[in-house]
Symmetry: D2
């Protein structure tokens, strides 16, 4: 219908991210027998690779699902009907996770927030200290709020829990942080890490991930929420020999193997440093344009994405539409409370300096075409930052 839009599409939403060619070609390998010997080797390789990414020696579980399924899996395996969970309104995804919990029959203590800050470790400590009866069975934290570009400090949340001497489980959503920002499942004593394929892991959507502590496994024995598809114990036994209780998403696992190899080739620390440098450069551009970051606290800046506020009276979605049509670039929209007020720049996954420069160039031109008041010089500021940050 409409003509071909030349050149590579810039997929700068904060996930799904630009899937590298190597991964796309890996996906296109012929499907094999999920009960055969070759498949067993594939499974073992990807599970071991994910352990290295999550930084755990414990089990990792892969579901054929979206990340939303991995949220649900974390809850239904560890909790019983009516259990209380402590959640924090850091943004749209925290709010959605809360919705999952409610629909599953849990009681949610939802700490209100302004969508511009992460989880306050002090608030965690205070709440849990007051919870003498240990009604709270789990603390649920979104590590990196994909709707706001605010990163919560998971290690400090864990320390707050320890100060409160509270036995609740710590469940952490790393959907838009895993393999982009530093994350340590074992060291931070996270009980369930929730993630998925289409962000830092550089895959298309279709795989949900849980990494599980011994404490969480123990909790799952007593947990009474009905579960079948998401049932960890059904997974863990066949996984040991490289198999699955039901048909896994074969071709996405090929892609995962390739992506894990690529992350290893680059080196996880290099991956984190790269994302940090890109986050910094993107924020410099935003500041040069004279626009506001959604994230207010510099210690909570995200390396994966930058959410930018448009001035009052301007529509972020109208701007995004112009950018898509004129520059063949998808930017993330404002979600929930900040719809139309915010646009989001994804700079995670298989990304490099020149892609960022192109991305910021498209935004700078788009702001102008959309009539959004701003100063020029954002791209130049990013160039200066990138050059300095090498």
């Amino acid at each position: 219908m409409s003509g071909y839009l030349p050149g590579r599409h810039f997929l700068q939403i904060p996930g799904p991210t630009n899937v590298p060619d190597r991964v796309l070609r890996a996906l296109a390998a012929p499907t094999i027998d999920h009960r055969g010997p070759e498949f067993g080797r594939l499974t073992k390789e990807v599970l071991a690779g994910l352990q290295r990414i999550v930084k755990t020696t414990g089990p990792v579980i892969i579901f054929p699902s979206s990340g939303t399924g991995a949220w649900e899996a974390a809850l239904v395996n560890t909790l019983s009907p009516g259990d209380t969970v402590l959640m924090f309104e850091t943004g749209q995804f925290a709010t959605l996770w809360r919705g999952v919990a409610i629909r599953l029959g849990l009681s949610v203590d939802f700490v209100p927030g302004d969508w511009r800050h992460g989880v306050d470790p002090g608030a965690v400590e205070e709440r849990l200290t007051k919870d003498r009866g240990h009604q709270v069975k789990a603390v649920c934290v979104v590590h990196n709020e994909t709707s706001t570009g605010v990163a919560s400090r998971v290690d400090e949340v864990r320390q707050a829990m320890e100060r409160a001497r509270h036995p609740a489980l710590l469940l952490v959503d790393t959907i838009s942080s895993l393999a982009s920002m530093d994350y340590r499942h074992d060291e931070w004593q996270v009980d369930v890490t929730v993630s998925c394929s289409q962000k830092g892991l550089m895959l298309p959507p279709g795989l949900g991930i849980n990494a599980v502590s011994q404490k969480a496994l123990k909790a799952s024995e007593a947990a009474k929420l009905p579960r079948s598809y998401w049932r960890w114990e059904e997974m863990l036994k066949p996984n040991q020999s490289g198999f699955f209780p039901y048909t896994p998403a074969t071709n996405l696992l090929y892609g995962l193997r390739e992506a894990l190899r690529m992350l290893q080739e680059e080196g996880l620390d290099a991956v984190f440093a790269r994302h940090a440098r890109h986050g910094e450069a993107a924020r410099r551009a935003v500041q040069a344009w004279g626009l506001d970051l959604q994230c207010l606290d510099p210690q909570e800046y995200s390396s994966s994405l930058t959410a930018v506020r448009v001035p009052e009276g301007h529509d972020a979605d109208a701007f995004r539409k112009i950018v898509l049509e004129r520059f063949n670039m998808s930017l993330g929209n404002g979600l929930g409370k900040v719809q139309g007020r915010v646009f989001r720049i994804g700079h995670l996954g298989d990304f490099n300096d020149l892609m960022l420069v192109g991305t910021l160039g498209g935004i700078e031109m788009g702001l102008s075409l959309a009539g959004v008041p701003h100063k020029k010089g954002g791209v130049q500021a990013a160039l200066d930052s990138l050059e300095a940050g090498r």
Copy 2:
């Protein structure tokens, strides 16, 4: 490590099936924004295409999941804790579905079976007639038992339900029959059709499917089983404009679009006739070898796969291992009760006469190499059948 096995692998398990090149290449297209306009068009095309395959004018829902997830979705959307469902022990997959129901807290009336017959419509009528209080809320039928190669007559089951004037829902697993054998959701008044991507739809695994009647939708309003990921109502609204409540499996949807186009190019009736001809030729080969079919009733023969019994004292898995190593072909193993006693020949999906001849040739040579007593001439019998059946 081990050397390259030359030539095309023969993936003759009854699913995942041989994914056609066109679909594999479609999978490898760059991932796009699942909230953008291009994606909306994709969604609408695949949903409309699935309606044609399932033969319904009602809604079809696609989950990022395996077929097991689609089983679960059918149950949790329509039933309440403690509800009774009527199930039939037609084989391993019927038994697994029962396990899902039990884990979700349903009460299962499981009619025993010998794994060599389909659902007996007479038994359905009898059971439901006796159920004066309408305790049974759903009748669950596996259309084509992938573990046995036995096809139940869904239309006759529906007629039996009508004769019993019973209001139970009819839930049908079409996982290994859809797009391979005649199936009519609307005409047979099926309430939930359960299916998935990796069989007749010629895709890799990763998509679960529900087609839903108005009666099932109505039931979902009252159903009390907790559900979030699988919740139909969350899907139906955004689906109307081409979107999903959570990130869909983008690249598998590309593959689905291509596969649906291919099925349309060939013509659904031609697809069914092809599968029927291949089923017939495969059974002729088995009979010529002097081996027994697992399926005892000719009116219940499957067009998708043929399960073959090996003589007493012989191990079907040892035979399969030889076939894999010597002939680069994967055959289906015996599952559950028939492990080691049965092997299964998948002849569904993107398959043609010469692939079948090669498949049967590998079996005939493999039987000989494995020392399984048999007569020669199976391939010849299949050739004669294929030639006659054109």
Copy 3:
């Protein structure tokens, strides 16, 4: 060994160009019988498509070869040993074509040049007017000098030939201009158009192209240079029914079909306008940096590439190495006489505004890292130009 370089490689040499995903996936289709009916349809589609691109109603010939082969084909089909051809030293590729002519036993009248200008139509007229005996059998012009970014005005060359009333053939190399810059085989009365796959046609290398006028065909009947592989007449007959005298490069032809469809979707005029806008923006960047363009005459600016001179005492190749290693971008090197003195920015083929911005950003940062004296602001100048040029 060396780590993975994240993100999309920027292949900004002036060809091979960034091959679009659609074309790459088309290449990966299974090879078919080059004597079968499906192949015949493929051939006819690509030949007709090339006619539209070259703007001719006459025959187009595709060789399994590089562009160098297409140069050779143009000469051996039209000329006899010892014939004189008039060539112009516009740069490295004109010089290489001359080498081909000499090796084939032709006599070359090579008009010297400074590598910063195109063919001077006045010089053509003058030379040919003096050639009363019509010793010159062919005038060979490189439309777009890939080594310098200078475009010769082919239509004015033809007009000069007409003013001189000279019967020589006009052979034109469009290797780096075809499908990027306006070109009209029939209207400009070109006798042989020489081209290849890996530039504006957005394919990998491997196809050489000749478009041939009736006059050239007539000349080929008398031409005495030995030829077999490149023999037009052997091609033309089987081509009419969609076949080739020897095995064609099947999979590259799949890619060509896809590329031609994409060019048609975008529209050839839109393609030219896009290249022109990118050329303009690139030159603005160079000027803002305070660097010199290799091309001195604005009416000869190339839309396909921009060749940039580095200041005396600086090494363009050292700069290019830094750009490759730090920014994952390949820039074109200086060739022949300008080695080390020039780098080349390819902005042709499947390319868009944001790719150009990224490209220029990498150059600006690279100049700084390499210590090449320059002013900042090149990217900003390009942004301004792009925005103005929409």
Copy 4:
């Protein structure tokens, strides 16, 4: 237009062969800079790999061309206008090579043949012994005649040349034998080995190959045929550092790298044994059908293909058309003198037992559908042969 033909196409012409998925996906990698460091490593790997296949320690040269181009290259690099070459009418390809020689201005001594035998070493000795003045500058042998399925004994030809103490060069076409049948460039003292990509090397067409002896290199210094594109010396120098004098067919070289790795994984001796076993089984099938092989001498049977004669009064092409339309299989047609009289079964390249069984099954059914008189039992005979030959 016509509907989708389900299942994998059987490409059983004697080349292009069924390209393995790994190679197809390798082809689809993004095109890179042919002057960059990564490319240099690619070139060196594929040249070294080809040396192992051709069994030489001398140079191997790759042209972006078909095999026909590699024929031409062998001639123009070693010979001068008017030179005499000794050629043998073993079939269509020998005849075509002769055409190339004639068009290039060589004098061909063409020893007549019946298209059912290979080169007679005795005839070589006799001719060369008589050629006291050493008029014959090269002996040209087609190792495996792709039009007839007859393999000439190159080692015996070399021995005959030695017995005649004749200094002529030995040029050998291995187009349909290389990487399928035993071949030893150095040991047999071949001077130029001619080959290409689309047969045993399992690639699409587009690469021509020459392996060159020191004697041939020496001859090239004196050879006077005009040459530019095919000029070895221009290739050899840049090849040493991994580069090419003109743009090479990048993506086909990716495929070549993958194919060479696969051949090494399987092991060259295993590759030869596999082809021999398939040739034997195919001939057993033909004999069981009661049809005649085109090749009359068992010591000249080809392992790559089997040419089969249809009985008088029947049309091989009508039969082939039925096989294509009904069974989605391409068989090779009769070429030149045997058009309509012969069909050819390609069983070379990426091929295995079950593909062969399917191939032969399609032929057996096709013979019946086409009304070609034959006995049943060919597939059965092949199964017996394959089983015995393991």
